[in-house]
Symmetry: C2
Subunit: 100 residues, 2 copies
């Protein structure tokens, strides 16, 4: 229970079953997705912003091709406004939903 | 007519109404999409591979937000095998369909 609370604090902006893809190697995120599914998640969201979007697609494709061939993929794209050093910036966002 | 033939030769692998996103600035591809729609295309595909995938998402988002607010977006991701220097490589592909 305590561990769960600590985890939730770490991933403040992450709703349950969401993997935020950043600069780590692709396989780190693949493992995170597989772990979620092995813990009985019915769907997992893979999210990324800006240049990490291509890695998020890699993650989803590796999961589908190498681990869970039967998974369904639904992709949404949108734009978020973030606070950059010189004012507000628009950044593209991808949300890949994998459903068992 | 001659010009059309030359164009078709240039974009050999591009089916009609498909914009392949690569290394050019985002706005070059945005302009290409807008041009397709202004020539009465009902749908335009924005395609990219590997690291260009994030730019393809930027292109679709700029088109939707700044030019054609009513456009519908459908995103598909897949994997293609390409011939690299040291054998075959798997590369992720995105296909963003914009429909008027």
């Amino acid at each position: 229970m305590v561990e769960q609370e600590v985890n939730q604090e770490k991933k403040q902006r992450a709703p349950e079953n969401t993997i935020f893809v950043g600069q780590k190697p692709t396989m780190a995120y693949v493992l995170a997705v597989i772990t979620q599914f092995s813990e009985d998640a019915k769907e997992v969201h893979i999210k990324a912003r800006g240049k990490s979007i291509s890695r998020a697609v890699d993650v989803a494709e590796v999961v589908r091709r190498k681990f869970l061939q039967t998974v369904n993929t639904t992709v949404n794209i949108s734009t978020e406004e973030i606070q950059g050093e010189r004012g507000k910036l628009n950044v593209s966002v991808i949300d890949i939903k994998l459903t068992k």
